[in-house]
Amino acid sequence: MKLSILKKIRVVLALFFFLLLSAVFIDFRGTFGDAFYQWAVSLQFVPALMKTITVAGVVAWGLIAVLLLTLLFGRVYCSAICPLGIMQDVVSWVSRKVKKKHRYKFRKAWTITRYTILGLLLLVVLLGGITLLTVLDPYSLFGRIASYLFKPVVVWVNNLGATALSSADVYSILYQYDLAPVQWAVLGTTILFFILIIVMAFNRGRLYCNSICPVGTVLGFLSKYSLFKIELDHDTCTQCGKCMRVCKAECINIKHQTIDYSRCVACYNCIDTCPEDAAVYRISRKGKKEKTVDLKPANVMVAQPKGPQMNKRSFLFTAGAGMAALAGVASVKKVQAAATAQQGSTIHSSNGGKIPEDKNYAVSPPGSESIERFNDICTGCSLCVSACPSKVLQPSFLEYGLAGMLQPHMDFHAGLCNFDCTTCGEICPTGAIKPLTMEQKHVTQVGKAHFIKANCIVETDGTDCGACSEHCPTKAVHMVPYGDLVIPEVTEDICVGCGACEHACPVTPHRAIYVDGNPVHLEAKKPETEKAKSDLKAGEFPF
């Protein structure tokens, strides 16, 4: 039977998943509903795993599906479902177009590297942090790349189009979209990984997946036991090596006619290429007979292949060390101070804004329950950042400290959390943000507003302002008489910490009202209102 159809199916599926995942992260117009987001992400391994671990009693079907697929057919997840893997395939494909002579060949596995990374990751998790998972999970990594690198390009093109159309008085097709600025550190980390992955993929195919990616390591391990495997039929194989040259996992040892299943990503290039149809996909004849590649650590360390050299103690560890050093200085206050220092000089005549806000905690999204819980689960995929209609969710760098790096926090300079919105909980695939009903959302207190009178325009300039109270959905911030004017006052127990006040307060560089996070979310009291009355009778005019 001609098996090359397998590759076509794989390519179609891969493109489907790649476009699907790109779409949900790039969708700045909110075209796809919450249900679509959930569905699109459900087959992604790490979020499905996290959900299974975090939401008691639920085994995400996506996790079962991926595990079953792997045990049946090998690492099809890596070749057809993982967007980061597919992105690498696109790069490899381009590299083969560009460099006409590009050939892969069998290389030794980086076994020590992969298991060290996986081990470290588990160790860090045991010590109570998932930073390394956040940084390395391919789905989350792709999410950030799509959100912070692809999306701006799409938005830029969109805005050019919108400008052209609006000058022709057409407003109905495209509209301008303003991206919230992303912290340079977050952007830098994303770019760094993007470049690393591109360079690796350009030169060495799926090296990233087979040396660094923790999901690749786990699924690779499982693949050794999968039912269907690609085998080089010893009777027909002429050892021409064509399969080896197209194997982007560099796992076909043509000399021994063996395949390193821990690295084979089931891309079926070999099957498609073999002129003798000797590369076959079948229920493994004799797993034992096919001696897998010798993985002596010594070899791994010594046998450096030709071609671009890649330092195995990759920059990851360097970066890791650097970040660990930064962890010492991590605090909301420092990050905040750095941010305001950059903001300098907007033109305004107010005298306020001299006293810094005193934020002790970052604000985690409603439904995350506590900062600690949130930091333990969120892998920083940025899906919620993309989906948040108000743009208030922004990736953190050190706002939560090192443990919460790249996880979203509520950035009230970027936006406010809409009182009637529950989007982030609906779509978070890991369970880090739990879905809230509207009633729950309305009383979820993620932080509390604090007023700095000495910064307030009413005090400093002696003119009315009230932007804070204007935006407050519960009237926890309300205006009370202050001479001829009115000045804000905060009722803490009905404040939900949505940040509408902080977002609206026009005082720079420091706001006169700000929200300090609740490390553990609380329940706010419902605002009490009296029924409004009017003395005016029907049909009567007051003048």
Binding site: G30, N159, Q176, S349, D464, E470, P473, A532, F543
Partner: protein
């Protein structure tokens, strides 16, 4: 065609009953139809579209303000992600009827936008205004990005000397301002003048530089040709966003005037406030943008 017939016939009936019932109904029934030089028309007791039909007829119809081929800008309050029941935004039925009248008067285009406080697509959608505009045959225009705003000088402004206004402010012929009447924690009330804050990009500037003076100053740049105040459901407390339905009083009222100061003064009275308590009304009146002394106005009162 049907629409036009409907407007005509309902208007005839309305003016007659309105004049008969109105408190200041000194005008004779016959005289009322001919006379259109009112400073202010106040209507009570009907649905928003019915009240507008009658009110605008009392002013001589929309053709007094909109000439064939003109581009009309209608600026409702669409600032908040609220459903029409919550009355955080202008009543969509009123917006729709105003657009229909403009198109009937021969307007080439009727364009609608607001610089919203909440996420704009949600505001446009949930307020019902996006749909109302589409159904009426107008064009809804985004106001969400600074790129839509152009820098202008506000000649004569005391505190607001320059600002960035939405490009529609510069390339439309007729400007109809359609605020919803609401309580406001610091501007005291948000009515017609305050609604114009949604035409500029940097609202923070107003708050930082003497809110009331800036609100009044904007009139140096552009005064609406017509103002229609929606007071169907009125948020009399906890404005401008509102905490619950308890904040509302159903007043079934509407005001129409070319004088933005007069209409704000009259609207304030509806919620029991004295116009002079509201600083920006006073400032605008002093600057000569209109009259806040209601006793000096020729008012037409209509009860539906």
């Amino acid at each position: 065609m049907k629409r036009r017939d409907f407007i005509r016939s309902s208007v005839g009936a309305g003016v007659a009953t309105g004049a008969a019932l109105s408190l200041g109904g000194a005008n004779s029934l016959l005289g009322a139809e001919a006379e259109t030089d009112f400073d202010l028309v106040a209507i009570r007791g009907g649905e928003p579209e019915v009240m507008f039909d009658k009110g605008i007829a009392a002013l001589g119809g929309m053709s007094r303000f909109v000439k064939p081929g003109q581009r009309v800008l209608v600026k409702p309050n669409i600032g908040w992600d609220r459903t029409p029941e919550r009355a955080g935004d202008t009543n969509p039925k009123l917006v729709r009827r105003i657009i229909e009248h403009c198109l009937d008067a021969g307007a080439k285009d009727v364009l609608v936008f607001d610089h919203t406080c909440h996420e704009w697509t949600k505001c446009y959608q949930h307020s019902g205004i996006e749909q109302a505009v589409a159904e009426a045959g107008g064009k809804i225009v985004p106001g969400n990005s600074e790129r839509y705003y152009k820098h202008v000088d506000v000649k004569g402004g005391v505190k607001l000397k320059e600002t960035d206004v939405h490009e529609l402010m510069l390339n439309t012929d007729v400007f109809i301002n359609v605020p919803v009447l609401k309580n406001h924690n610091s501007a005291k009330m948000t009515i017609a003048m305050k609604n114009l804050m949604g035409c500029v990009w940097d609202r923070g500037y107003y708050h930082k530089n003497d809110l009331h003076q800036c609100i009044a100053d904007f009139l140096h740049f552009r005064k609406p040709d017509l103002n229609v105040v929606d007071a169907y459901r009125v948020m009399t407390q906890n404005g401008p966003v509102g905490v619950s339905l308890d904040d509302l009083v159903t007043m079934k009222s509407q005001l129409i005037s070319t004088d933005i100061v007069a209409i704000d003064a009259a609207a304030a009275k509806f919620v029991g406030m004295d116009p002079s308590e509201i600083n920006h009304i006073k400032l605008a009146s002093e600057a000569g943008f209109g009259t806040m002394d209601l006793s000096k106005l020729k008012i037409k009162r209509i009860v539906v």
